[in-house]
Amino acid sequence: MIANSIPIGPFHPLLEEAEYFELKVDGETVVDIDMEIGWMHRGHEFISEMKTFTQSIYLVERICGICSTSHPIACVHAIEDIDNIEIPIRAKYIRTLVGELERIHSHLLWLGLAGHFIGYDTLWMWVWRYREPVLQMFEIISGNRNHYGMMRIGGVAKDVDPASIPDLAKIFDMLGKKMAMLAGAVKDDPVLRSRLKGVGVLSYDDAVAYCATGPTSRASGVRGDVRKDESTDAYGLVEFDEIVLPNGDVYDKLVLRVLEVIESVKICRQCLEKLKEIKGPILNDVKEISPGEGIGRYEAPRGEVFHYIRSDGSNRPIRHKVRAPSFVNIPTYTASCKGIPVADVLITLASIDPCYCCTERSLKVVNKENDPCLIDLLKISREKTERIRREINGSK
């Protein structure tokens, strides 16, 4: 039997979470790909609107187990944006330290999984071995290995103990060396290179057209990093490079992540140095949030995460909107997966480091009689854009 469509998911060893892809194949070559999201929808935005502001921060931490501090950072940015709340300088460094540690552990996690997906279990185990000290550092800093609970409106919840800074610096020294070794190994490994070079190419034009963010777009030569563009928290106060690679294939995405880890280690070291010198409070007391709306952006390991919060002066958000990076990165599969063999498609699917929990949202389209109907969503969206454009032109 020759199959002409291969289902990937909803449950598949490639996917840590439930998600459905349908590959239309001709022999072993993929001619078309269809994506279906919504298997993991949990209604976080709605739940958040029933919680207080402080509780929502803990709630959005549970959106994703891997970028579990990117969502809180973006969320507190959004709330602080409503009242233009300034945070203490020491809190800025701690936020950046925790955020960058998360980037290190997330990129290492991906690197290991990528090794597993291409059947290279030794790479998987070795990389995860080096990821373990990062989790230990989280434990030293926050007391937790996965959900840190560090973010608060107006600062951070827990100070970095000055006595623990030498220990942390020692681990960073080890990590820096190992990452330099790993970068050398990945760049020089002829087997990895021949397996991943030129696989699943996302061109510069496609990356722009699909609005890809994060490592996915930066590996295609598109500049754009919220850390550089907005310089929130301590990102304006530390030295680091924005890594951009030109080719857009899986190999470039892999090298880019390793180089970003090295940059992150650099940022963390600078933060630790500053934390030795700077003393002071870590939390500004915020009594209440005035009516208004605010947006928060943060460069999560997978790309830009965006939070929008509207307040009516009460103690809870009346609208909380989350846009995770994978939501815009997943549609790039349409550009990168066509015309390549099944074996390559699977590593390409993994190459954007998709986080489905973050992405999931549900949508019910109904007509005037409240019956579900399937209308082309693109058509509705274009009609709305047209309408807004007409209104703007009309008001002029």
Binding site: A3, L14, I118, P341
Partner: protein, 309 residues
């Protein structure tokens, strides 16, 4: 006389010996791989426990499958492997055999791959059928190179087509691996084994993160246990065949026992090292590798062997 034959087939060097040694070597493989990856690895009896546990599990037969083929293939493959191991073992340990037994072994080894393909395609599962398709392509890729390197000892031993005679020639002249053509054949042979056992980097038909186990996906319970036992038995059959063809067989007297164990471990360790330092390659890369590089090099080896190098 017939009693001895049954003993050869069922106890030594056939079913029991190959099965038990295979499971033990399977443990060596798992343990060594684990240590290479900074893991602890399974305890010694893990493979035996796995096998026995699977025997007690329910066998789920897929509704859409061709039931007879689905059930028969793992058992038939097991039977063929027992036969092959008996033939190789008789030549290695008892210096017995019949004219042309090497050719029969080559045929039967190919039938094993054919049975994997049959079993996989009998289930009607998409992943299994893709896995079977890949197994066919992999068989097409490695088979010619494997046959060619098996011809080199035949040529070097003065056109003997019996394993026993090949071993006798080697005991006089020294192992064939000491010559250029023999060394080439040994290296290509290890790569062919890696492909025939679908070990990394050639685990393309199984590819658990792509096609979820490929041909074996729908198997469960005792049938899966037999597929796993088949896999571990090949850890005995292929290295023994290489030892017989290129390393001069076993000399089971005094210090010879130590050499025998070392020869076997050498091949196993090389296989495990290759397995743990390579990602899975694409099926077109595998075809490319075998047809463009391995097969021509084997041809060169044959030409060298004809000229006696």
């Amino acid at each position: 006389m017939i009693g001895w034959k049954i003993f050869y087939l069922l106890v030594f060097p056939g079913l029991l010996f190959t099965g038990v040694l295979g499971l033990i070597v399977g443990w060596v493989d798992r343990k060594l791989s684990a240590r290479l990856q900074f893991r602890v690895g399974p305890p010694f009896f893990q493979n035996f426990n796995d096998f026995l546990k699977l025997l007690g599990k329910e066998t789920i037969i897929v509704k859409d499958s061709i039931k007879s083929v689905f059930v028969a293939t793992p058992l038939a493959a097991f039977g063929f492997l027992v036969l092959i191991s008996t033939m190789i073992g008789l030549a290695l340990f008892f210096h017995e055999g019949f004219v042309g037994d090497l050719f029969v072994i080559m045929y039967l080894l190919m039938i094993f791959s054919v049975l994997v393909i049959l079993g996989g395609s009998s289930t009607g599962n998409v992943y299994s059928s893709i896995g079977s398709g890949r197994e066919i392509k992999l068989l097409l890729a490695d088979e010619l190179a494997f046959i060619l390197i098996c011809l080199i000892p035949i040529i070097k031993s003065g056109y003997q087509i019996q394993l026993k005679n090949i071993l006798e020639v080697q005991s006089v002249q020294g192992p064939f691996i000491s010559s250029v053509s023999g060394a080439i054949a040994f290296v290509i042979g290890i790569l062919c084994i890696q492909a025939k056992m679908t070990l990394p980097p050639f685990h393309i038909p199984e590819a658990e993160t792509e096609i979820v186990g490929g041909p074996y996906m729908e198997y469960s319970g005792p049938l899966l246990a037999f597929w796993q036992l088949n896999h571990y038995m090949m850890f005995v059959i292929y290295p023994f065949l290489l030892i017989a063809l290129f390393l001069g067989g076993f000399d089971l007297h005094g210090i010879g026992i130590l050499w025998a164990v070392l020869k076997y471990l050498l091949i196993i360790v090389i296989m495990i090292l290759i397995k743990n330092t390579n990602p899975r390659i694409r099926i077109d890369t595998a075809l490319n590798f075998f047809w463009r590089y391995a097969t021509p090099i084997s041809f060169i080896g044959i030409i060298l062997a004809v000229f006696g190098v």
